[in-house]
């Protein structure tokens, strides 16, 4: 068993630097080649408006993935939240609608956490199930005529600007800052990383694994709810299919941001850089006349190259990338179920 030291989280400071350098390069390139990209500085910020809900979702997913779990329901929760806030806006106040949507999202996150932590079912399966439940709820709630055309005060959350900075981007910044503080500066954050690193060891060292796990999923639900509200405000409509499309890009951001998909390693700041990197890359390539096909292909290539480079960095002492990956898989799968072998 590997020795546990939280210092390991800081093993690869270069990763954030690499991502940051790529981001600067990318922004520079697009600003020079595309005359509509820079827009006096703030104009550039609106380029990633469409990507912001994905980025918000990625913050919650980063927490979950750090614990070695996964939350496949996050996208569906965002959809549900957008529909709930939409239907509530038809009858109630803006604040009331937002509160109801966030409560619903948080409760689903809580349920995810309770089932994963207390029934010991793999988060992949639990959240796959709640994903279906949340989408079905969203579809039935949206009905024949999904809610749309909201009050302008609410729309500010999606498309308004403060001094040229999109409000949605500010929301993303606040969520990212809170999550970063949570992971980097709180005991809750240290616990969740330790659980991701080695749940057994965390348990033996007196960490209440279940409670922390429940907390992480609950926060992920809440953040997915926020993403759904921004979605509804940006598109001026609550749609039952709007959030699902965010899930895989959000997971991509988390992984590109250097978070170990098996948990225990990663930094929120780097995920934020990855979100900006991917968001600007997608829109920048499209602006430059690349087709959507080329754009998705570049995203895929970037992800693979990034992961290979990262693993190569981490295992310089190991004989090969393949061997170390196999070893990581073994460690991921082996310790979870120590007993009975039912062949």
């Amino acid at each position: 068993m590997t020795a546990i030291s939280l210092g390991q989280r800081r093993r690869l400071p270069a990763w954030g630097a690499i991502l940051g350098a790529l981001l600067v390069l990318e922004l520079g390139y697009f600003s020079v080649t595309n005359r509509n990209f820079f827009g006096g500085g703030t104009g550039m910020l609106t380029q990633i408006e469409l990507f912001i809900p994905t980025g918000i979702l990625a913050m919650g997913l980063a927490l979950v993935i750090l614990t070695g779990n996964i939350d496949l329901s996050a996208g569906a929760i965002a959809s549900l939240s957008s529909v709930v806030v939409g239907t509530q806006l038809e009858s109630g106040t803006v604040i009331g609608a937002i509160v109801v949507a966030l409560v619903v999202s948080t409760v689903i996150g809580l349920v995810n956490g309770l089932i994963v932590a207390h029934l010991g079912i793999d988060s992949l399966l639990v959240t796959l199930a709640t994903q279906f439940i949340a989408s079905s709820l969203a579809v039935s709630l949206a009905g024949d005529n999904p809610p749309q055309d909201f009050a302008s005060l609410f729309l500010t959350l999606g498309r308004g600007t403060v001094a040229g900075v999109p409000v949605a981007l500010l929301i993303f910044a606040v969520v990212a800052a809170v999550v970063a503080l949570l992971v980097g500066r709180s005991r809750f954050g240290r616990r969740l990383v330790l659980i991701g690193h080695n749940a057994e060891a965390a348990r033996y060292s007196g960490i209440r694994v279940a409670r922390t796990t429940v907390g992480v999923f609950t926060v992920s639900g809440l953040i997915a709810g926020i993403a759904g509200i921004v979605l509804a405000a940006y598109f001026n409509a609550g749609r039952s299919d709007s959030g699902m499309a965010l899930l895989l890009p959000a997971i991509t951001c988390v992984v590109l941001g250097g978070v170990d998909i098996f948990g225990g390693k990663g930094r929120v700041g780097e995920v934020v850089v990855a979100v900006l990197l991917l968001g600007f890359l997608t829109q920048g390539l499209l602006n430059s006349g690349f087709s959507s096909l080329a754009t998705t292909m570049v995203t895929g290539l970037l992800l693979i190259v990034a992961l290979v480079v990262k693993i190569a960095f981490e295992v310089r002492s190991d004989p090969s990338v393949l061997a170390s990956t196999a070893d990581r898989l073994r460690r991921r799968f082996a310790p979870r179920r120590p007993a009975a072998d039912h062949g």
């Binding site: 024949d144 498309r159 598109f235 409509a237 959507s292």
Partner: protein, 378 residues
């Protein structure tokens, strides 16, 4: 050892399921695009109060503005997604008349049938160094691309829609495939011609909130109750724009209504789904199927006789109309509603305000039969 395998297996199954769920939207609405799928005019629902304008008519001698060539322009056609035969047919049609109109056609779209992806593509066109003069969209859903279209408008790009609309305020003109009433009437008339004025029928639609499909359902319902009161609607099921789901939903309809005379699948995935159900229940020849869809995916069913009738419109000609309307919109020569214009061989078309503002109804429903389906390639 087996733990590893189990777990890996579970992971694989779960990811596959996730993939399916995700594809549910994309491949699903891909298949349904032929019939405007889950999208289209938000205002379509409130349509039926006023009569629709007449469809484009080559034999009409009305006249009105004749759309003619002018200075070179670029038209970006942005359908729901890339690579779908019906949209390829649209683009083919637009290119047929492009040179005579001095139009350059730029065909681009997202890989998935996703509203958000489509919005990014449109935003990319708006921000590019050489933005097009006109953007012609077919929207994945009524709302997702509205902000991007507004950005285009703000830049002076003319915005027109075809097949699937958004809120009318976000675009200048919309080319509606066919009149909802006419389509509903055509389907029910076909059922009555085959099975008589009595009995029960069932409808297989895409999703509950698919605006165009709902408009067709409403049209069928009101035409049935006004003209054929003894024809009963036994039920409506939703195949979620997915062929497998459509098949199981159709099987449910068939089994829960043993006296069913006809099944009416009204989206691109529902047609093959319904036909597969009819075949597997051994009801070919006993239960007729009249649908809305494109002929190419259904060739085998025409050949074996299980598909009794299929309706759509000529996608290639519709593509030609896109080029004409784009030319007119760019030059500002399109008439105000209600007015007419002449679009080459397509004839005289009307800009009307029903079902939504500045709507051009392209065609009467076109019926594909065992005899004529080979003439069309989409």
């Amino acid at each position: 050892m087996s733990h590893h395998l189990n777990r890996a297996g579970v992971l694989a199954v779960a990811m596959a399921a996730l993939g399916l769920a995700a594809a549910g939207c994309s491949s699903g609405s891909a298949a349904s695009t032929t019939t405007s799928s889950s999208a289209s005019g938000a205002s379509a629902a409130s349509a039926s109060s006023t009569a629709d304008s007449p469809a484009c008519d080559a034999s009409a001698t009305g006249g009105g503005v004749k759309i003619a060539s002018g200075k070179p322009i670029t038209v970006a056609i942005v359908p729901k997604l890339l690579g779908l035969p019906v949209f390829e047919a649209n683009v083919k049609g637009a290119k047929q008349v492009a040179s005579s109109l001095n139009v350059t056609v730029d065909y681009t779209a997202s890989v998935k049938a996703s509203g958000a992806d489509q919005a990014q593509v449109i935003q990319g066109l708006v921000n590019s160094n050489n933005p097009p003069d006109v953007i012609a969209y077919s929207a994945n859903d009524p709302t997702s691309i509205v902000p991007a279209l507004q950005a285009a408008k703000a830049k002076g790009i003319k915005v027109i829609g075809f097949d699937s609309d958004v809120t009318a305020s976000a675009r200048s003109y919309f080319i509606q495939d066919t009149s909802y009433e006419a389509m509903g009437k055509a389907l029910i008339d076909a059922v009555v011609a085959k099975n008589g004025k009595t009995g029960s029928v069932a409808i297989l639609s895409s999703t509950k909130d698919a605006t165009v499909q709902n408009a067709w359902i409403d049209a069928m319902k009101s035409y049935m109750s006004s003209t054929y009161p003894d024809l009963k609607l036994a039920g409506i099921a939703y195949g979620q724009s997915n062929q497998a789901t459509s098949q199981s939903q159709a099987t449910n309809l068939i089994n829960s209504h043993p006296d069913l005379k006809a099944l009416i699948p009204i989206d691109g995935a529902a047609v093959p789904g319904a036909l597969a159900a009819v075949k597997s229940q051994g009801l070919v020849g006993k239960l007729s199927v009249f649908g809305i869809g494109d002929p190419n995916p259904n060739r085998q069913y025409f050949a074996d006789g299980s598909l009794t009738g299929l309706f759509l419109w000529d996608e290639v000609k519709q593509g030609q109309l896109i080029a004409y309307v784009a030319r007119g919109a760019a030059d500002g020569t399109m008439p105000a509603a209600v007015g007419t214009f002449v679009a080459g061989d397509i004839g005289t078309c009307t800009v009307g305000n029903s079902p939504a503002a500045n709507t051009i109804i392209f065609s009467k429903p076109l019926e594909f039969t065992k005899e004529n389906y080979l003439k069309y390639d989409f």
